[in-house]
Protein backbone atom coordinates (compact mmCIF):
# COMPACT_ATOMS: atom_id res chain seq x y z
CA UNK A 1 0.00 0.00 0.00
CA UNK A 2 1.45 3.34 -1.03
CA UNK A 3 2.56 5.59 1.83
CA UNK A 4 0.88 8.61 0.25
CA UNK A 5 -2.58 7.14 0.60
CA UNK A 6 -4.44 8.85 3.37
CA UNK A 7 -6.75 6.81 5.49
CA UNK A 8 -9.89 8.58 6.71
CA UNK A 9 -9.50 9.01 10.40
CA UNK A 10 -5.99 7.70 10.11
CA UNK A 11 -2.65 9.33 10.63
CA UNK A 12 -2.40 11.45 7.50
CA UNK A 13 -4.22 14.33 5.90
CA UNK A 14 -6.92 13.49 3.32
CA UNK A 15 -5.76 14.09 -0.24
CA UNK A 16 -8.53 16.53 -1.12
CA UNK A 17 -10.69 18.99 0.75
CA UNK A 18 -14.19 17.95 1.64
CA UNK A 19 -16.77 18.79 -1.02
CA UNK A 20 -14.50 18.33 -4.00
CA UNK A 21 -14.77 15.32 -6.21
CA UNK A 22 -11.54 13.38 -6.48
CA UNK A 23 -9.92 13.04 -9.84
CA UNK A 24 -8.95 9.90 -11.65
CA UNK A 25 -6.58 7.79 -9.67
CA UNK A 26 -6.97 10.00 -6.64
CA UNK A 27 -9.71 8.28 -4.72
CA UNK A 28 -8.06 5.09 -3.54
CA UNK A 29 -8.36 6.11 0.10
CA UNK A 30 -12.03 5.37 -0.21
CA UNK A 31 -11.08 1.75 -0.67
CA UNK A 32 -10.74 1.72 3.09
CA UNK A 33 -13.84 1.35 5.11
CA UNK A 34 -14.98 3.92 7.54
CA UNK A 35 -12.67 3.97 10.54
CA UNK A 36 -15.45 2.75 12.77
CA UNK A 37 -16.23 -0.34 10.72
CA UNK A 38 -14.16 -3.48 10.99
CA UNK A 39 -11.18 -1.49 12.06
CA UNK A 40 -9.69 -4.52 13.73
CA UNK A 41 -9.49 -6.24 10.37
CA UNK A 42 -8.75 -3.20 8.26
CA UNK A 43 -10.56 -5.10 5.57
CA UNK A 44 -10.24 -3.87 2.02
CA UNK A 45 -13.46 -3.68 0.07
CA UNK A 46 -13.42 -5.57 -3.19
CA UNK A 47 -15.07 -2.64 -4.89
CA UNK A 48 -14.50 1.02 -4.41
CA UNK A 49 -17.23 2.88 -2.59
CA UNK A 50 -17.37 5.36 -5.41
CA UNK A 51 -16.41 4.95 -9.00
CA UNK A 52 -12.79 5.76 -9.81
CA UNK A 53 -13.83 7.66 -12.90
CA UNK A 54 -13.49 11.42 -13.14
CA UNK A 55 -16.50 13.65 -12.97
CA UNK A 56 -19.81 14.11 -11.28
CA UNK A 57 -21.84 10.98 -11.23
CA UNK A 58 -24.36 9.22 -9.15
CA UNK A 59 -22.97 6.48 -7.00
CA UNK A 60 -25.38 3.65 -7.48
CA UNK A 61 -25.82 3.58 -11.28
CA UNK A 62 -22.06 3.72 -11.69
CA UNK A 63 -21.53 0.65 -9.59
CA UNK A 64 -20.66 2.72 -6.59
CA UNK A 65 -21.73 2.23 -3.01
CA UNK A 66 -24.23 -0.58 -2.82
CA UNK A 67 -24.77 -0.18 0.86
CA UNK A 68 -23.10 -1.75 3.83
CA UNK A 69 -23.10 -5.51 3.85
CA UNK A 70 -23.72 -7.38 6.98
CA UNK A 71 -20.49 -9.29 7.18
CA UNK A 72 -19.50 -12.17 9.32
CA UNK A 73 -16.06 -12.97 10.59
CA UNK A 74 -15.67 -15.63 7.88
CA UNK A 75 -16.75 -13.22 5.21
CA UNK A 76 -14.14 -10.73 6.30
CA UNK A 77 -11.46 -13.39 6.30
CA UNK A 78 -12.51 -14.49 2.84
CA UNK A 79 -12.39 -10.94 1.56
CA UNK A 80 -8.99 -10.38 3.07
CA UNK A 81 -7.74 -13.59 1.45
CA UNK A 82 -9.25 -12.56 -1.87
CA UNK A 83 -7.59 -9.15 -1.63
CA UNK A 84 -4.22 -10.78 -0.92
CA UNK A 85 -4.53 -13.30 -3.75
CA UNK A 86 -5.90 -10.85 -6.28
CA UNK A 87 -3.05 -8.37 -5.82
CA UNK A 88 -0.53 -10.77 -7.38
CA UNK A 89 0.79 -9.38 -10.67
CA UNK A 90 1.16 -11.53 -13.77
CA UNK A 91 4.84 -12.53 -13.97
CA UNK A 92 5.13 -11.74 -17.65
CA UNK A 93 2.85 -8.72 -17.87
CA UNK A 94 3.29 -7.13 -14.44
CA UNK A 95 0.94 -4.22 -15.20
CA UNK A 96 -2.06 -6.50 -14.64
CA UNK A 97 -2.97 -8.70 -11.71
CA UNK A 98 -4.22 -12.26 -11.78
CA UNK A 99 -7.66 -10.90 -10.90
CA UNK A 100 -7.57 -8.45 -13.85
CA UNK A 101 -6.80 -11.34 -16.17
CA UNK A 102 -9.57 -13.52 -14.77
CA UNK A 103 -7.04 -16.22 -13.83
CA UNK A 104 -8.02 -16.10 -10.17
CA UNK A 105 -11.43 -17.74 -10.15
CA UNK A 106 -12.31 -17.70 -6.47
CA UNK A 107 -10.93 -17.70 -2.97
CA UNK A 108 -12.79 -19.60 -0.28
CA UNK A 109 -11.97 -20.40 3.30
CA UNK A 110 -12.33 -24.17 3.74
CA UNK A 111 -11.66 -25.53 7.22
CA UNK A 112 -9.48 -22.54 7.99
CA UNK A 113 -7.42 -22.91 4.81
CA UNK A 114 -7.58 -20.31 2.07
CA UNK A 115 -8.28 -22.21 -1.14
CA UNK A 116 -7.53 -20.22 -4.28
CA UNK A 117 -8.85 -21.63 -7.53
CA UNK A 118 -6.66 -20.68 -10.45
CA UNK A 119 -7.19 -21.40 -14.13
CA UNK A 120 -4.36 -21.64 -16.65
CA UNK A 121 -4.50 -19.27 -19.62
CA UNK A 122 -2.83 -20.59 -22.76
CA UNK A 123 -1.96 -24.29 -22.65
CA UNK A 124 1.64 -23.50 -23.33
CA UNK A 125 1.94 -20.63 -20.89
CA UNK A 126 5.12 -21.31 -18.89
CA UNK A 127 3.98 -18.85 -16.22
CA UNK A 128 1.22 -21.10 -14.87
CA UNK A 129 3.37 -22.57 -12.11
CA UNK A 130 4.93 -19.20 -11.26
CA UNK A 131 1.46 -17.69 -10.90
CA UNK A 132 0.30 -20.48 -8.61
CA UNK A 133 3.37 -20.15 -6.42
CA UNK A 134 3.00 -16.36 -6.26
CA UNK A 135 -0.66 -16.57 -5.24
CA UNK A 136 0.21 -19.10 -2.57
CA UNK A 137 3.07 -16.93 -1.28
CA UNK A 138 0.83 -13.89 -1.15
CA UNK A 139 -1.78 -15.78 0.89
CA UNK A 140 0.91 -17.09 3.26
CA UNK A 141 2.23 -13.55 3.66
CA UNK A 142 -1.23 -12.38 4.61
CA UNK A 143 -1.26 -14.98 7.37
CA UNK A 144 -3.34 -17.73 5.77
CA UNK A 145 -2.73 -21.41 5.37
CA UNK A 146 -3.07 -21.65 1.63
CA UNK A 147 -3.87 -24.22 -1.00
CA UNK A 148 -4.02 -23.72 -4.77
CA UNK A 149 -6.45 -25.64 -6.95
CA UNK A 150 -5.97 -25.71 -10.71
CA UNK A 151 -9.27 -25.54 -12.57
CA UNK A 152 -9.35 -26.74 -16.18
CA UNK A 153 -13.04 -26.40 -16.90
CA UNK A 154 -14.58 -24.15 -18.04
CA UNK A 155 -11.58 -23.08 -20.07
CA UNK A 156 -10.18 -19.61 -19.61
CA UNK A 157 -10.90 -17.14 -22.38
CA UNK A 158 -9.63 -13.64 -23.02
CA UNK A 159 -13.24 -12.50 -22.52
CA UNK A 160 -12.59 -12.87 -18.79
CA UNK A 161 -10.06 -10.05 -18.74
CA UNK A 162 -11.80 -7.26 -16.85
CA UNK A 163 -12.49 -3.84 -18.34
CA UNK A 164 -9.92 -2.44 -15.95
CA UNK A 165 -7.40 -5.07 -17.00
CA UNK A 166 -7.92 -4.23 -20.66
CA UNK A 167 -7.38 -0.56 -19.95
CA UNK A 168 -4.18 -1.34 -18.01
CA UNK A 169 -2.89 -3.42 -20.92
CA UNK A 170 -3.55 -0.58 -23.33
CA UNK A 171 -1.74 1.91 -21.10
CA UNK A 172 1.16 -0.52 -20.88
CA UNK A 173 1.43 -0.57 -24.69
CA UNK A 174 -0.26 -3.93 -25.34
CA UNK A 175 -3.39 -3.91 -27.48
CA UNK A 176 -6.06 -5.81 -25.51
CA UNK A 177 -7.80 -8.76 -27.21
CA UNK A 178 -10.85 -8.05 -29.28
CA UNK A 179 -13.97 -9.19 -27.45
CA UNK A 180 -16.19 -12.18 -28.04
CA UNK A 181 -13.96 -15.14 -28.71
CA UNK A 182 -16.81 -17.58 -28.40
CA UNK A 183 -16.66 -18.78 -31.97
CA UNK A 184 -13.67 -19.72 -34.05
CA UNK A 185 -15.00 -17.46 -36.77
CA UNK A 186 -14.74 -14.40 -34.57
CA UNK A 187 -11.15 -15.32 -33.78
CA UNK A 188 -10.28 -14.82 -37.42
CA UNK A 189 -12.88 -12.41 -38.60
CA UNK A 190 -11.80 -8.94 -39.52
CA UNK A 191 -10.86 -8.20 -35.94
CA UNK A 192 -9.70 -4.64 -35.73
CA UNK A 193 -6.61 -4.10 -33.63
CA UNK A 194 -6.10 -0.48 -32.63
CA UNK A 195 -2.65 0.88 -31.92
CA UNK A 196 -2.32 1.22 -28.13
CA UNK A 197 -0.10 4.29 -28.56
CA UNK A 198 -1.85 6.52 -31.06
CA UNK A 199 -5.23 4.77 -31.28
CA UNK A 200 -5.09 4.40 -35.04
CA UNK A 201 -6.92 1.48 -36.62
CA UNK A 202 -4.32 1.38 -39.40
CA UNK A 203 -2.33 -1.57 -38.16
CA UNK A 204 -0.80 -4.69 -39.69
CA UNK A 205 0.19 -8.06 -38.31
CA UNK A 206 3.92 -8.75 -38.43
CA UNK A 207 3.92 -12.14 -36.76
CA UNK A 208 1.24 -14.42 -35.39
CA UNK A 209 3.54 -15.39 -32.55
CA UNK A 210 5.24 -12.80 -30.41
CA UNK A 211 7.32 -12.45 -27.29
CA UNK A 212 5.11 -14.70 -25.16
CA UNK A 213 2.58 -17.43 -25.86
CA UNK A 214 -0.27 -14.99 -25.46
CA UNK A 215 0.86 -12.25 -27.82
CA UNK A 216 1.17 -11.50 -31.52
CA UNK A 217 3.36 -8.81 -33.02
CA UNK A 218 1.72 -5.90 -34.83
CA UNK A 219 2.81 -2.58 -36.31
CA UNK A 220 0.94 0.67 -36.52
CA UNK A 221 1.19 2.09 -40.02
CA UNK A 222 0.14 5.54 -38.76
CA UNK A 223 2.74 6.12 -36.05
CA UNK A 224 5.06 3.36 -37.27
CA UNK A 225 5.45 1.87 -33.80
CA UNK A 226 5.51 -1.90 -33.38
CA UNK A 227 3.39 -3.25 -30.55
CA UNK A 228 2.18 -6.46 -28.93
CA UNK A 229 -1.38 -7.66 -29.35
CA UNK A 230 -2.85 -9.88 -26.65
CA UNK A 231 -4.27 -12.72 -28.72
CA UNK A 232 -7.91 -13.55 -28.45
CA UNK A 233 -8.67 -17.12 -27.38
Amino acid sequence: MSATRGRPGGDSTPLWPAGHLPHKGGDQPVAWLSPITNIEERAVRERLLISPLVGEMAGRPEGGDVGQDVTTQDDRRRRRAFAAASSVPDPEIPCVTVADLGILRSVEIVDGVAVARVTPTYSGCPAVLAIELAVEASLLDAGFDARIERVMSPAWTTDWITAEGREKLREYGIAPPSKASSSIRSLFGQAQVDCPRCGSAETERLSEFGSTACKALYRCTACREPFDYFKCI
Binding site: S123, M152, E208
Partner: protein
Protein backbone atom coordinates in the same frame (compact mmCIF):
# COMPACT_ATOMS: atom_id res chain seq x y z
CA UNK B 1 -22.23 -37.97 -16.34
CA UNK B 2 -19.13 -39.44 -14.79
CA UNK B 3 -16.92 -40.53 -17.66
CA UNK B 4 -14.95 -42.85 -15.41
CA UNK B 5 -18.04 -45.01 -15.06
CA UNK B 6 -18.79 -45.27 -18.76
CA UNK B 7 -15.49 -46.89 -19.80
CA UNK B 8 -13.02 -48.89 -17.80
CA UNK B 9 -10.05 -47.06 -16.38
CA UNK B 10 -7.47 -48.82 -18.54
CA UNK B 11 -9.23 -47.79 -21.74
CA UNK B 12 -9.52 -44.19 -20.60
CA UNK B 13 -5.83 -44.04 -19.68
CA UNK B 14 -4.82 -45.54 -23.04
CA UNK B 15 -6.96 -42.97 -24.83
CA UNK B 16 -5.48 -40.08 -22.86
CA UNK B 17 -1.91 -41.30 -23.32
CA UNK B 18 -2.33 -41.61 -27.09
CA UNK B 19 -3.52 -38.05 -27.24
CA UNK B 20 -0.86 -36.77 -24.83
CA UNK B 21 1.96 -38.64 -26.60
CA UNK B 22 0.96 -37.20 -29.99
CA UNK B 23 1.31 -33.72 -28.54
CA UNK B 24 4.49 -34.28 -26.55
CA UNK B 25 6.36 -35.95 -29.40
CA UNK B 26 5.29 -33.44 -32.03
CA UNK B 27 6.04 -30.59 -29.62
CA UNK B 28 9.50 -32.05 -29.09
CA UNK B 29 10.11 -32.36 -32.83
CA UNK B 30 9.00 -28.79 -33.39
CA UNK B 31 11.23 -27.50 -30.61
CA UNK B 32 14.21 -28.91 -32.51
CA UNK B 33 13.76 -25.98 -34.91
CA UNK B 34 14.46 -23.46 -32.17
CA UNK B 35 17.50 -21.48 -33.29
CA UNK B 36 17.50 -23.08 -36.75
CA UNK B 37 14.42 -21.58 -38.39
CA UNK B 38 14.82 -19.77 -41.71
CA UNK B 39 13.82 -16.42 -40.21
CA UNK B 40 13.34 -14.81 -36.82
CA UNK B 41 9.54 -14.81 -36.94
CA UNK B 42 9.56 -18.54 -37.58
CA UNK B 43 12.08 -19.03 -34.83
CA UNK B 44 9.45 -17.56 -32.51
CA UNK B 45 6.46 -19.18 -34.14
CA UNK B 46 7.59 -22.80 -34.10
CA UNK B 47 8.65 -22.92 -30.43
CA UNK B 48 5.40 -21.08 -29.64
CA UNK B 49 3.38 -23.79 -31.34
CA UNK B 50 5.58 -26.38 -29.61
CA UNK B 51 4.75 -24.74 -26.27
CA UNK B 52 1.04 -25.01 -27.01
CA UNK B 53 1.41 -28.69 -27.86
CA UNK B 54 3.52 -29.49 -24.82
CA UNK B 55 1.14 -27.50 -22.63
CA UNK B 56 -1.78 -29.53 -23.97
CA UNK B 57 0.26 -32.69 -23.37
CA UNK B 58 0.94 -31.66 -19.76
CA UNK B 59 -2.75 -31.20 -19.02
CA UNK B 60 -3.49 -34.60 -20.59
CA UNK B 61 -0.67 -36.42 -18.76
CA UNK B 62 -1.73 -34.87 -15.49
CA UNK B 63 -5.28 -36.06 -16.04
CA UNK B 64 -4.13 -39.51 -17.23
CA UNK B 65 -2.10 -39.86 -14.03
CA UNK B 66 -5.15 -38.95 -11.97
CA UNK B 67 -7.41 -41.42 -13.76
CA UNK B 68 -4.79 -44.15 -13.58
CA UNK B 69 -4.55 -43.64 -9.81
CA UNK B 70 -1.10 -45.14 -9.44
CA UNK B 71 0.52 -41.89 -8.37
CA UNK B 72 2.37 -41.25 -11.64
CA UNK B 73 2.98 -37.55 -12.28
CA UNK B 74 2.97 -35.84 -15.66
CA UNK B 75 6.77 -35.98 -15.63
CA UNK B 76 6.79 -39.70 -14.89
CA UNK B 77 4.50 -40.32 -17.82
CA UNK B 78 6.38 -38.02 -20.18
CA UNK B 79 9.92 -39.07 -19.36
CA UNK B 80 10.02 -42.44 -17.67
CA UNK B 81 8.34 -44.86 -20.03
CA UNK B 82 9.91 -47.31 -22.46
CA UNK B 83 9.60 -46.85 -26.22
CA UNK B 84 6.92 -49.53 -26.55
CA UNK B 85 4.78 -47.75 -23.96
CA UNK B 86 4.49 -44.56 -26.02
CA UNK B 87 1.27 -44.56 -28.01
CA UNK B 88 1.70 -41.63 -30.40
CA UNK B 89 0.96 -41.95 -34.10
CA UNK B 90 3.97 -42.46 -36.37
CA UNK B 91 3.63 -39.18 -38.27
CA UNK B 92 4.62 -37.04 -35.28
CA UNK B 93 7.85 -38.91 -34.56
CA UNK B 94 9.20 -38.58 -38.09
CA UNK B 95 12.37 -36.51 -38.29
CA UNK B 96 11.64 -32.90 -39.21
CA UNK B 97 13.11 -33.04 -42.71
CA UNK B 98 13.05 -29.66 -44.41
CA UNK B 99 10.83 -26.69 -43.58
CA UNK B 100 8.15 -27.76 -46.07
CA UNK B 101 7.94 -31.22 -44.48
CA UNK B 102 7.66 -29.74 -40.99
CA UNK B 103 5.00 -27.23 -42.01
CA UNK B 104 2.87 -29.68 -43.95
CA UNK B 105 2.96 -32.21 -41.11
CA UNK B 106 1.97 -29.48 -38.66
CA UNK B 107 -0.80 -28.30 -40.94
CA UNK B 108 -2.26 -31.79 -41.36
CA UNK B 109 -2.00 -32.52 -37.67
CA UNK B 110 -3.65 -29.19 -36.77
CA UNK B 111 -6.41 -29.74 -39.33
CA UNK B 112 -7.15 -33.11 -37.74
CA UNK B 113 -6.87 -31.89 -34.15
CA UNK B 114 -9.08 -28.89 -34.76
CA UNK B 115 -11.95 -31.15 -35.79
CA UNK B 116 -11.13 -33.44 -32.87
CA UNK B 117 -11.04 -30.70 -30.21
CA UNK B 118 -14.14 -29.03 -31.59
CA UNK B 119 -16.08 -32.23 -31.08
CA UNK B 120 -14.38 -33.06 -27.76
CA UNK B 121 -15.31 -29.68 -26.29
CA UNK B 122 -18.80 -31.10 -25.74
CA UNK B 123 -17.37 -34.28 -24.22
CA UNK B 124 -19.19 -36.10 -21.42
CA UNK B 125 -15.83 -35.93 -19.64
CA UNK B 126 -15.77 -32.47 -18.13
CA UNK B 127 -12.00 -32.27 -17.71
CA UNK B 128 -11.39 -33.25 -21.32
CA UNK B 129 -14.04 -30.75 -22.43
CA UNK B 130 -12.14 -28.01 -20.59
CA UNK B 131 -8.83 -28.94 -22.20
CA UNK B 132 -10.54 -29.16 -25.60
CA UNK B 133 -12.29 -25.80 -25.31
CA UNK B 134 -8.95 -24.06 -24.99
CA UNK B 135 -7.01 -26.28 -27.38
CA UNK B 136 -9.51 -25.78 -30.21
CA UNK B 137 -8.76 -22.06 -30.27
CA UNK B 138 -5.01 -22.56 -30.09
CA UNK B 139 -5.18 -25.14 -32.85
CA UNK B 140 -7.09 -22.67 -35.01
CA UNK B 141 -4.03 -20.38 -34.85
CA UNK B 142 -1.81 -23.30 -35.88
CA UNK B 143 -4.01 -24.05 -38.88
CA UNK B 144 -3.89 -20.46 -39.98
CA UNK B 145 -0.15 -20.10 -39.52
CA UNK B 146 0.84 -23.39 -41.14
CA UNK B 147 -1.84 -23.10 -43.81
CA UNK B 148 -0.40 -19.73 -44.85
CA UNK B 149 3.00 -21.37 -45.20
CA UNK B 150 1.63 -24.26 -47.24
CA UNK B 151 0.08 -21.73 -49.63
CA UNK B 152 3.24 -19.61 -49.70
CA UNK B 153 5.45 -22.59 -50.47
CA UNK B 154 3.09 -24.23 -52.95
CA UNK B 155 2.46 -20.97 -54.77
CA UNK B 156 6.05 -19.77 -54.35
CA UNK B 157 9.10 -20.69 -56.38
CA UNK B 158 9.64 -23.83 -58.41
CA UNK B 159 11.94 -25.11 -55.67
CA UNK B 160 9.50 -24.44 -52.79
CA UNK B 161 6.65 -26.09 -54.71
CA UNK B 162 8.83 -29.10 -55.47
CA UNK B 163 9.74 -29.51 -51.80
CA UNK B 164 6.15 -29.18 -50.63
CA UNK B 165 5.01 -31.74 -53.14
CA UNK B 166 7.74 -34.11 -52.04
CA UNK B 167 6.69 -33.60 -48.42
CA UNK B 168 3.08 -34.47 -49.26
CA UNK B 169 4.28 -37.62 -50.99
CA UNK B 170 6.43 -38.72 -48.06
CA UNK B 171 3.88 -37.88 -45.37
CA UNK B 172 0.72 -39.23 -46.96
CA UNK B 173 1.20 -42.89 -45.86
CA UNK B 174 1.11 -41.68 -42.25
CA UNK B 175 -2.24 -39.87 -42.54
CA UNK B 176 -4.52 -42.88 -42.22
CA UNK B 177 -3.30 -43.67 -38.73
CA UNK B 178 -4.91 -40.46 -37.47
CA UNK B 179 -8.33 -41.78 -38.49
CA UNK B 180 -7.69 -45.37 -37.52
CA UNK B 181 -10.04 -46.98 -35.00
CA UNK B 182 -9.80 -49.90 -32.61
CA UNK B 183 -11.51 -51.08 -29.41
CA UNK B 184 -10.19 -48.05 -27.47
CA UNK B 185 -11.55 -45.43 -29.88
CA UNK B 186 -14.81 -47.39 -30.17
CA UNK B 187 -15.35 -47.48 -26.40
CA UNK B 188 -14.37 -43.85 -26.00
CA UNK B 189 -16.67 -42.59 -28.75
CA UNK B 190 -19.53 -44.80 -27.56
CA UNK B 191 -19.23 -43.17 -24.13
CA UNK B 192 -19.35 -39.72 -25.72
CA UNK B 193 -15.91 -38.85 -24.39
CA UNK B 194 -14.31 -38.09 -27.76
CA UNK B 195 -15.29 -38.39 -31.41
CA UNK B 196 -14.71 -41.48 -33.49
CA UNK B 197 -11.58 -40.44 -35.45
CA UNK B 198 -12.94 -41.83 -38.72
CA UNK B 199 -15.86 -39.39 -38.47
CA UNK B 200 -13.44 -36.45 -38.56
CA UNK B 201 -12.27 -37.17 -42.08
CA UNK B 202 -14.74 -34.89 -43.92
CA UNK B 203 -13.88 -31.90 -41.73
CA UNK B 204 -10.17 -32.60 -42.17
CA UNK B 205 -10.52 -32.84 -45.93
CA UNK B 206 -12.50 -29.61 -46.11
CA UNK B 207 -9.75 -27.71 -44.30
CA UNK B 208 -6.98 -29.29 -46.35
CA UNK B 209 -8.61 -28.96 -49.75
CA UNK B 210 -9.29 -25.26 -49.20
CA UNK B 211 -5.60 -24.62 -48.55
CA UNK B 212 -4.31 -27.08 -51.14
CA UNK B 213 -6.34 -25.48 -53.92
CA UNK B 214 -4.71 -22.14 -53.14
CA UNK B 215 -1.33 -23.83 -52.98
CA UNK B 216 -1.88 -25.49 -56.40
CA UNK B 217 -1.30 -28.82 -54.73
CA UNK B 218 -3.16 -32.09 -55.22
CA UNK B 219 -3.81 -34.53 -52.44
CA UNK B 220 -1.37 -37.39 -53.06
CA UNK B 221 -2.73 -40.72 -54.23
CA UNK B 222 -3.50 -42.83 -51.16
CA UNK B 223 -0.52 -45.02 -50.30
CA UNK B 224 -0.26 -48.14 -48.19
CA UNK B 225 -0.89 -46.83 -44.67
CA UNK B 226 1.87 -46.93 -42.10
CA UNK B 227 0.39 -47.69 -38.69
CA UNK B 228 1.51 -49.19 -35.39
CA UNK B 229 2.17 -46.27 -33.07
CA UNK B 230 -1.14 -46.67 -31.23
CA UNK B 231 0.00 -50.08 -30.02
CA UNK B 232 3.56 -48.99 -29.29
CA UNK B 233 5.24 -50.18 -32.50
CA UNK B 234 7.34 -47.27 -33.66
CA UNK B 235 9.70 -46.31 -36.47
CA UNK B 236 13.45 -46.34 -35.95
CA UNK B 237 13.36 -42.57 -35.40
CA UNK B 238 11.56 -42.99 -32.08
CA UNK B 239 14.50 -44.45 -30.18
CA UNK B 240 16.75 -41.56 -31.12
CA UNK B 241 14.05 -39.06 -30.22
CA UNK B 242 13.49 -40.60 -26.78
CA UNK B 243 17.22 -40.75 -26.10
CA UNK B 244 17.30 -36.99 -26.35
CA UNK B 245 13.92 -36.35 -24.72
CA UNK B 246 14.70 -38.54 -21.71
CA UNK B 247 18.38 -37.69 -21.39
CA UNK B 248 18.12 -35.64 -18.18
CA UNK B 249 15.90 -38.10 -16.35
CA UNK B 250 18.04 -41.06 -17.39
CA UNK B 251 21.29 -39.34 -16.46
CA UNK B 252 20.08 -37.78 -13.20
CA UNK B 253 17.18 -40.01 -12.11
CA UNK B 254 14.54 -38.14 -10.15
CA UNK B 255 16.07 -34.72 -10.87
CA UNK B 256 13.65 -31.85 -10.17
CA UNK B 257 13.99 -28.08 -10.28
Amino acid sequence: MDAALAVDRQTQVAFLLRLADDHLILGHRLSEWCGHAPMLEEDLAMPNIALDLIGQARALYHYAGEVEGRGRSEDDLAFLRQEREYLNCLMVERPNGDFAHTMLRQFWFAAFMHAFWESASTSTDETLAGIAAKAVKETAYHIRHCGEWVIRLGDGTEESARRLKAAAQVLSPYLDELFDGDEVTAAISAAGIAPDPAALRPAFERTVSRVFSEAFLDMPVPAWPQIGGRSGRHTEAMGFLLTELQYMQRTYPGAVW
